[in-house]
């Protein structure tokens, strides 16, 4: 029997993740680019929502979550092709802390759909202001099947490789964050730098902060919905999410203040996102000290990557998808192996073989799985994206022409302009 309370919770969490993709991520990214490119950035998130939503219900969900498999441990099969045979009142075959109070199977389909939707949208941050829309579209379709679905299967499906090893990835440290971050890095490298690359002020920081705030809001559903139950574990996950976001934002803005003389709002927002990323794999496993430390670490390390290292190395990760999602994703996934606290999961009778216990609570073996999965995800995402981008480069091309880039992507890719000049 479906539990309506949990079901309502997961449906609304799914809605919140939708909200994170558009408008939240769109506004966060869109505010950072030049005025002439804002629509192209919004469109990448929106296109991801449209295309992935369709592919997911048709075949993606089945490949990602079917317990019967085409390649054992790596990818499912066509059992749920077109959601074949899933009745509305079927309970979800997947549960976390509430095996006896499952949500509807279709709720799980939807919830996972929204994860698949937002991940390529995050990648788009690395290709902003210079990639052809058609190529981005092709990328996101191929990437869904080649990179995302196998990784989701490995980490989260019943028979997934890492799932079976007891990987702790509460809400997508590997599947969403490391995945999007390292895909972003490969994309940025293959795409090359923007032609006239020089620091350009964000065209609308009000949009950026609005987007960041909406991300924070939506992330409650993203992280705590992942427990698939509105129980105390969800409460803990939300509270840890909020705490880590605040901790990382404090550190980033503090470093700005200390090193650049002024606390910036973009810094606070960037830090918050880094904190939200780092807590993603950990949300339902760590207790307060873990959340605080992960948040502080993410704020500091991502700051160094985005502000110092990126500018030294010179690759053009336009909106810091790698520097924030990739780096904090690694920190969080590994950190979960350190901070996972049995105090949190034990009351729910959960067990993954190693008791959801991290190194600092006496279980060094957990760390091994976390590190292994982290490296696999890094490699998988980077290599997969690298190859896809290489193929696209040779076939349809990746970049708009320099003249189109100078004119702006909104008008050259979409025949539209975001804003009028006089009324």
């Amino acid at each position: 029997m479906i539990n309506n309370a949990n079901n309502a919770w997961v449906l609304l969490s799914a809605a919140l993740i939708l909200f994170m993709t558009v408008p939240a991520l769109g506004l966060f990214y869109g505010g950072l680019v030049k005025r002439k490119n804002v629509l192209s950035v919004l469109m990448q998130s929106f296109a991801s929502l449209i295309v992935v939503s369709l592919l997911w219900v048709i075949v993606g969900y089945s490949l990602a979550f079917s317990p019967t498999e085409l390649i054992p441990g790596v990818i499912g099969d066509f059992r749920w092709f077109f959601l074949n045979g899933i009745a509305p009142n079927d309970p979800s075959p997947y549960t976390v802390s509430a095996p006896n109070a499952p949500v509807a199977h279709l709720s799980f389909v939807l919830f996972q759909c929204m994860f698949a939707v937002i991940t390529p949208a995050v990648v788009s941050g690395a290709v902003a202001e210079r990639m052809k829309f058609s190529s981005f579209l092709a990328f996101s379709v191929i990437w869904l099947f080649v990179v995302y679905i196998p990784l989701a299967h490995m980490a989260w499906s019943r028979n997934g490789l890492f799932a079976k090893m007891g990987l702790m990835d509460y809400a997508g440290g590997t599947v969403v964050e490391i995945n999007s971050g390292f895909s972003a890095l490969a994309a940025a490298l293959l795409l090359g730098r923007r032609t006239k690359l020089k620091p350009v002020p964000p065209h609308n920081l009000t949009f950026t902060l609005t987007g960041a705030a909406m991300l924070w809001f939506g992330w409650f559903g993203f992280n705590a919905g992942s427990g698939l139950a509105a129980d105390g574990l969800a409460s803990s996950a939300v509270l840890m999410t909020n705490t880590a976001a605040a901790a990382a934002a404090l550190v980033w803005a503090g470093l700005d203040w200390f090193l650049q003389k002024k606390p910036t709002i973009l810094g606070a927002a960037s830090g918050a996102v880094a904190g939200l990323v780092v807590i993603t794999p950990a949300a339902g496993f760590v207790s307060l000290p873990g959340a605080l430390l992960l948040g502080f670490a993410a704020g500091a390390v991502c700051y160094v990557f985005v502000v110092v290292i990126k500018n030294k190395l010179g690759y053009d990760d336009s909106l810091d998808a790698f520097g924030v999602h990739g780096i904090a994703g690694v920190l969080g996934t590994v950190g979960t192996g350190l901070f996972a606290a049995p105090f949190i999961t034990r009351p729910f009778g959960m067990n993954n073989g190693n008791g959801f216990t991290g190194l600092f609570f006496g279980n060094p073996s957990a760390l091994g799985v976390q590190v292994l999965a982290t490296f696999t995800a890094m490699l998988w995402a980077f290599a997969g994206t690298f190859v896809i981008f290489l193929v696209l480069k040779k076939t349809m091309g990746l970049r708009v022409t320099p003249k189109e880039e100078a004119i702006g992507l909104d008008i050259t890719q979409h025949n539209e302009r975001a804003y009028t000049v006089i009324e």
């Binding site: 620091p199 650049q260 910036t264």
Partner: protein, 113 residues
């Protein structure tokens, strides 16, 4: 008749307007421009990138006056705009050949004020 164009710091607009009104110069046209002058303008920082774009926000004033008003208009602008720091701006003076008030179709010096 002359046209006086002044490029000033945005945050001195209020003072300049007051000085102009005090000098009995009431008719002005204002717009927002970006200027590259002697003022080094690195103040914005985004994710650690100092914004080196060297175009700073300025206000452009356009004031058409009869000849006897030229000096006091210039004086008023200087009084309102001057802080003594780089970036205070410039005033340019042009010959104005004709002026027409659309409402009345008056022409010349009579139409200016």
């Amino acid at each position: 008749m002359k046209l006086i164009v002044a490029i000033i710091q945005p945050f001195r607009l209020e003072e300049v307007k007051e000085a102009l009104y005090a000098a009995d110069v009431q008719l002005i046209t204002v717009s927002e421009v970006l200027g590259h002058g002697r003022q080094g303008g690195v103040t914005e920082v985004y994710r650690g990138n100092k914004e080196t774009g060297n175009l700073l926000r300025k206000i452009r004033l356009e004031i058409a006056v009869n000849d006897e008003y030229v000096d006091k208009t210039i004086r008023a602008i200087i009084d309102g705009a001057k802080t003594g720091e780089l970036g205070d701006g410039k005033i340019f003076v042009y010959q104005l050949e004709d002026c027409i008030r659309i409402r009345t179709e008056e022409r010349g010096p009579a139409a200016i004020g």
